[in-house]
Symmetry: C2
Subunit: 285 residues, 2 copies
């Protein structure tokens, strides 16, 4: 393993490298759409092994505001789902980590329900084609993200389940997961335990105190999101090495590299060096 160099020192001796040009566009297959709405609902029910008492809730969860000019959309459910998943993960983390302090608990909760993490849940279970929408721009963004996740999987990068794409995760993907979770929660009369039983497996692998250090990417996304910044990652291979650069506001704030093929097992230094630099350089702390 090659430890990452302190980027702060690099920046004082030489001008920081700029964000590399975006990769050339690839031919994207559109995300698709399931026009048969009974089939769309049935897919979710099969996925969750849960049958809705009120399927209208599920259809609401699968409707983007662009579909009917906002007359009906998943947004109210997403409002509930965000809080329901927040408490479900709080309970789980509180009970499974009896000695962990509040800071570490908060970091774990944030990492597990981050936009990056939930968007990957939506991609993994092919949820976007179930969404009623009329927004070609959204399709394009989602298509780019899905392609980016596929590329990671092809390269067998261990970041894939957690987030670490060069393409920012579109919020709509996380929204769908939160809205479906809320549809289950409201349908089972606000029974949080039931919601957790039905949906928990979707969120596997759950980021734990033992694995959090292996998800520098997720943690950095969270750190930046908290301060209204956007982290971008550029992952590339050179001479058998994997190299990751972290950019915030177009400026490089951290890098990590490894001779192995797994980012997850390598970039433990990336988080601390980049976090420190983000704090120092952008006065976020």
């Amino acid at each position: 393993m090659t430890p990452s160099k302190p980027p702060g020192k690099r920046r004082r001796s030489a001008p920081p490298p700029r964000l590399p040009s975006p990769a050339p566009p690839v031919a994207l297959s559109p995300p698709g759409f399931v026009a048969d709405r009974a089939e769309a609902a049935a897919r979710v029910e099969r996925l969750l092994r849960y049958q809705f008492c009120d399927r209208a809730l599920l259809e609401e969860a699968l409707t983007h505001q662009s579909f009917s000019d906002g007359a009906l959309s998943y947004q109210r459910l997403e409002f509930v789902g965000d809080a329901a998943l927040g408490l479900a993960f709080s309970n789980f983390l509180y009970l499974t980590n009896p000695t962990l302090g509040p800071g570490a608990l908060s970091t774990l909760r944030a990492a597990n329900i981050s936009t990056e993490k939930l968007a990957r849940v939506a991609v993994r279970h092919d949820l976007y084609p179930l969404l009623r929408r009329k927004c070609p721009r959204l399709d394009l963004l989602v298509g780019q993200f899905i392609e980016s996740v596929k590329q990671e999987l092809m390269h067998d990068l261990a970041t894939a389940p957690y987030g670490g794409s060069v393409v920012k995760a579109p919020k709509v993907l996380a929204d769908i997961v939160e809205a479906i979770a809320a549809a289950v929660y409201v349908d089972c009369k606000f029974d949080l335990e039931k919601l957790w039983k039905v949906t928990r497996w979707l969120f596997e692998p759950i980021i734990t105190a033992e694995t959090i250090d292996e998800q520098p990417v997720t943690t950095l996304h969270e750190l930046c999101q908290k301060h209204g910044k956007v982290a971008q990652f550029k992952t590339w291979q050179k001479d058998g090495m994997i190299v990751v650069n972290v950019f915030v506001g177009g400026e490089m704030v951290g890098l990590g590299s490894s001779e192995q093929k797994s980012l997850g097992s390598v970039n433990r230094n990336l988080l601390s060096s980049a976090s420190e630099n983000i704090g120092q350089n952008l006065s976020l702390n």
Copy 2:
């Protein structure tokens, strides 16, 4: 009613007034401490009309990290309580506002569980003296806030239940409320409905879609908090008028005035003018 003038225009024609000097120090009575711990627990139980199965949870909720160098403190419970109150209010607002959009729902949730609102719950029910702590500086801050709330009540200002003090609410006061809520929630085996039944009345008056416009102070606190800023309010009377100035970063961003004695019924214009100015002047939007 005298509507507030657009502060943006005022600022272009004349230099903005600066934050007035703080009021002269008043003789503070220390917040006090209930050394008899059985009595402290009994007070909470009488208040909530709830008997704990495990009183150790309640004692944990009533212990500040300064008491035993962080060995035991309310912080883990506060982590759960924050999320539990978040979902409890989400459910309540979702069910009682079937046509309200997600933005308004989020604003209502934030207003009801803001530090300002919860700190006033702690003051109203005299919870701070029940807290085990060893931190004279905290006592001082809390004492100042309690005094400031008392002053508002003496002046019969309608902001008192919601927040609008010149003194910023100390986070510890909101923490105590969240930790006690979590103690109940964990004690009753994570039954959110039970938690809501036991604690809901503490949060009265709940800020609703009908009354949110009457709480410009709470809403502005939330807006600023969201963007890492601190709002300060200076309320004063002149020639039978009540005048409120809003400062962010020492700069005045809004003002409202009224011939009535109730701020709540008057300052509907304050929120929109100050919010707009905060967004424009501090590039928060």
